[in-house]
């Protein structure tokens, strides 16, 4: 067995439920998932409490590797972020040109917007989009709600408030409490969301299971994984694009 820390957005997508049984079958490796916030996942890795992490926050990952906690990061796949909002779409973001335009429209109408506010990969992406739109969330009024919670909890809040929110597509499709929310905008390449696998350096934490790390990495980058990841669909939509280099 090995322990893998993953982010809530990855787990909520449901992909892990497809992959883990196959991994067990193919390699005999039981992967135990710890579903936590991005920051916490990195901390678990630093402390050596997990054997590997799978997150989507490039800058933080690179810093993690630079500090020597992981020997390298390996990109596995990506999915994309989407803008969710009330079906009435007061800010008319459905017809926005790109992600920055969508955000500008929301800011102009001051329609309620829920931000993860937890420094997760998703949150960091949102912040970078705001700055691309040349807006500073720190200046926003009370329509901008930083809820400081995981993806699912934030979606629940957005659903309760009929607010706009940035979510990853997988979490959104798997989310059951949609209420009056709908997917309003997607497709801007700026919204791509790269997942990477980081094995913890056994030189630093001798107890981590180096062999299991390798087995999992090999499997995740194998053609079998490719087929499963690319083939994973919810409501007919494919979610992830496998992009590991062979």
């Amino acid at each position: 067995t090995m322990k893998l820390a993953v982010t809530t957005s990855f787990h909520n997508s449901g992909l892990s439920d497809v992959l883990l049984p196959v991994i067990l079958e193919d390699t005999g490796l039981e992967v135990q998932l710890l579903v936590v916030g991005t920051g916490q996942a990195l901390r678990l890795g630093e402390a050596g409490d997990v054997d590997a992490i799978l997150v989507h926050s490039r800058a933080a990952e690179e810093a993690f590797v630079a500090k020597g906690f992981a020997p390298y990061r390996r990109e596995i796949m990506y999915n994309d972020f989407v803008f969710i909002g009330p079906q009435s779409d007061a800010a008319k973001i459905a017809s926005a040109g790109d992600a920055a335009d969508a955000l500008t429209r929301i800011a102009e109408t001051e329609a309620p917007f829920v931000s993860r506010g937890d420094e997760s990969g998703t949150h960091k992406k949102e912040l970078s989009l705001w700055s691309a739109a040349q807006l500073d969330p720190a200046q926003f009024g009370s329509w901008y709600k930083a809820v400081g919670a995981g993806m699912g909890a934030s979606l629940n809040t957005a659903s309760g408030l009929d607010a706009y929110i940035l979510a990853d597509r997988a979490s959104w499709l798997n989310f059951a409490n949609k209420g009056t929310l709908a997917l309003l905008f997607s497709g801007d390449p700026a919204l791509f969301n790269q997942y990477a696998y980081l094995p913890i350096d056994p030189a630093r934490h001798p107890h981590v299971k180096a062999e299991a790390q390798r087995t999992l990495e090999d499997w995740l980058t194998s053609p079998k994984a490719e087929a499963l990841i690319n083939g994973y669909r919810i409501e007919g939509t494919s979610l992830f694009v496998f992009n590991a280099e062979g």
């Binding site: 991005t38 916490q40 937890d118 809820v147 400081g148 995981g150 309760g160 209420g179 009056t180």
Partner: protein, 234 residues
């Protein structure tokens, strides 16, 4: 381990600098938990006492149920309150979701069974002692309850403090119904959960120590207040 020291340092720094955010969420924590405590006491003290003095058919079952409700999972309470208060729920029009009021409602539901159970337990002994006298004096139920609550107030204090402790440390329910919205419904516990998720354990611990200090403060204050007054009576 270093984190624990770092946490203490963080707590110290936050308190010494009177960090504005800290003051805000601390006051909100207190406001929510104390409001919930007062409301829960108003319900639970008479209810628990009434259960102690009243013999009726399903008394044992009622008490066992009340005891079981002490184990109400906060997350479930949060969910139910969320569903009731959400826009599409029956009380949606009140617009209470994601407000401190919603948090108070959830906490009242969580701590009322606890306080009522403990009240029942404490009042049972006192009722055994007073039973004959109060029956003999031909008191009404209301008078009995008032007398027991007043004369047993010391014992009830522990129950109320247990309720307060549970409320102030609770996070599952208020996260769902409050939403942990910055400057609106963020309280100490939800802030701690947030910092934990961010991996900023030092800050999380720092906030935790502030919360524990707050609980200590409230308890010492109550003990000091109740002491002056106790001397005279029991």
């Amino acid at each position: 381990m270093n984190e624990i020291w770092a946490g203490m340092l963080a707590a110290f720094r936050l308190i010494v600098t009177l960090d504005a955010d800290l003051v805000e969420i601390t006051l909100r924590s207190l406001q929510v938990s104390l409001s919930a405590l007062v409301i829960a006491c108003v319900i639970a003290l008479p209810l628990g006492t009434w259960l102690a003095i009243r013999r009726f058919r399903f008394r044992r079952a009622t008490i066992a149920t009340l005891n079981a409700l002490m184990g109400l999972p906060p997350v479930v309470v949060g969910l139910i309150v969320y569903l009731l208060l959400s826009r599409s729920g029956p009380f949606g029009v009140l617009g209470l979701l994601f407000t401190p009021t919603a948090m108070i409602i959830a906490q009242v539901i969580i701590i009322t069974p606890l306080i009522a159970s403990l009240t029942h337990q404490a009042m049972r002994e006192l009722w055994a002692e007073y039973h004959d006298l109060l029956i003999s004096l031909n008191t009404t139920s209301r008078q009995r309850i008032a007398t027991l609550i007043w004369d047993g107030r010391r014992a009830l204090l522990t129950g109320a403090l247990a309720g307060f402790g549970r409320a102030i440390g609770e996070v599952g329910a208020i996260m769902i119904v409050g939403g942990n919205i910055d400057h609106a419904t963020r309280v100490l516990t939800t802030a701690i959960a947030l910092e934990t998720g961010k991996g900023d354990f030092a800050l999380a611990l720092g906030l935790g120590f502030v919360l524990i200090a707050l609980a200590l403060l409230v308890n010492f204050a109550i003990h000091t207040l109740s002491r002056t007054e106790q001397e005279g009576t029991w």
